[in-house]
Symmetry: D2
Subunit: 136 residues, 4 copies
């Protein structure tokens, strides 16, 4: 998808559908997270590496637009890009496509915190660089 440097694939699980016959609105936040984890595995040695360095990334804001219903067993592509790093904060943007058609989009905002105190920490330089390189 134009403007996105990364994507990961997700198939809608039966457990993620609801009695309307479509994927439940909360499932999209789980898929966004799956994309973030895969993104960090590709560009920043993985979330576990970040944790081992003593950091956690908290989700502090989320936004989803549900443009088309998606159904059980649909193959979705979750496009993701990370940017807008400011101090301890960073932002991911997402576009969800099915057969090339945009079915949802959204963004999440995160804060890097010290893993023990859960207090804000400076965004580690190595992580900022890794993410910046991903953008190149």
């Amino acid at each position: 998808m134009e403007g996105f440097n990364f994507h990961t694939d997700v198939t809608v699980r039966f457990a993620e559908t609801d009695a309307q016959g479509v994927a439940h609105n909360a499932a999209y936040l789980v898929w966004f997270e799956v994309a973030r984890i895969d993104y960090l595995a590709r560009y920043a040695e993985g979330y576990k590496h970040i944790q081992e360095q003593g950091y956690e990334a908290l989700t502090i804001e989320s936004h989803v637009r549900y443009l088309k219903p998606v159904h059980f067993d649909d193959r979705l592509v979750i496009h993701a890009r990370c940017g807008d790093i400011r101090g301890a904060r960073f932002r991911y943007e997402y576009a969800v496509t099915r057969d090339g058609e945009l079915v949802a989009d959204g963004w999440t905002q995160h804060a890097v915190v010290d893993a023990k105190s859960l207090r804000p920490a400076r965004f580690p330089a190595w992580l900022a660089e890794a993410v910046a390189n991903a953008e190149a």
Copy 2:
């Protein structure tokens, strides 16, 4: 909570926590839904009544701000109000408090659709009135 005419109580389930030791970000959308369902039960004879009339309400947009981490077994109050009804669309706003302190807020946007075709339907007058009375 000032400006809110309705609230429902939720206790954070262990299954809703994650390995950061806090409630997962997707759980808030489930709590918002619990509040909507309770709201409709109070003011509009319940969601099942809406379904029996041949309607469904799709979630078309969601927004959450996670202000303070919440933990297993925390007693939360989900404040909700419904408004901004335009054609087939309506909006809920939420504030989540714990011991009187605001820990999250957000909103969801919905579209009334025909239950069979999932195509947009006019917002039923009786439902609009019920919701409007709730606001009074």
Copy 3:
């Protein structure tokens, strides 16, 4: 329910349904957990107290029989009893009723472990007594 000394109430959430229009089979394990937590709050000062004493209880086995489908907004009663304490292990049994009719039952087996090492610990005497008193 005969033979059960405790129950807790659960209303089926929309997010817990699936595209078959019934509650998803995994949701029952979450409801069993809700009942265990409420049970421990009543008889053993709560799960947090157990954690503060340096223990965790791991789930090591689960079994569910789904006798009747349950639907969105159904009011369920989760009956629970704890017993069969042997060394570090204990067992919960459950019966799920709707309007007095049995719709599911099951059991879970647990091991008390040291919270830090996750290694088996002796079942604390005070917890065994609390649970035994509950049985009385």
Copy 4:
């Protein structure tokens, strides 16, 4: 894994962990379902095909043994086999491995029902054959 003719891969999602730092016990039932769906896609033209023929498969019993805790980002292999077809009922057995080590196992029992009435239906011959061939 010996005795299993099929497997599918699952990576533990962050959303599937809980505050004990391990995958929640209900997540295993979701993974079992993912394996069933993949199994039917391989051997019986997929679950959607079964639905299009007017059938649904209800889960009527489940059993899980949690042998070793699994953690965020663990790569799991869900081994599955289907068998013991009797009338409208069939059974799946599962073994979950991580790096070749057994970390959980279990089984689920299912009933084929008419998709509209949710009443028991005869197990379709073509489905029984498909599954039997898988066993070969």
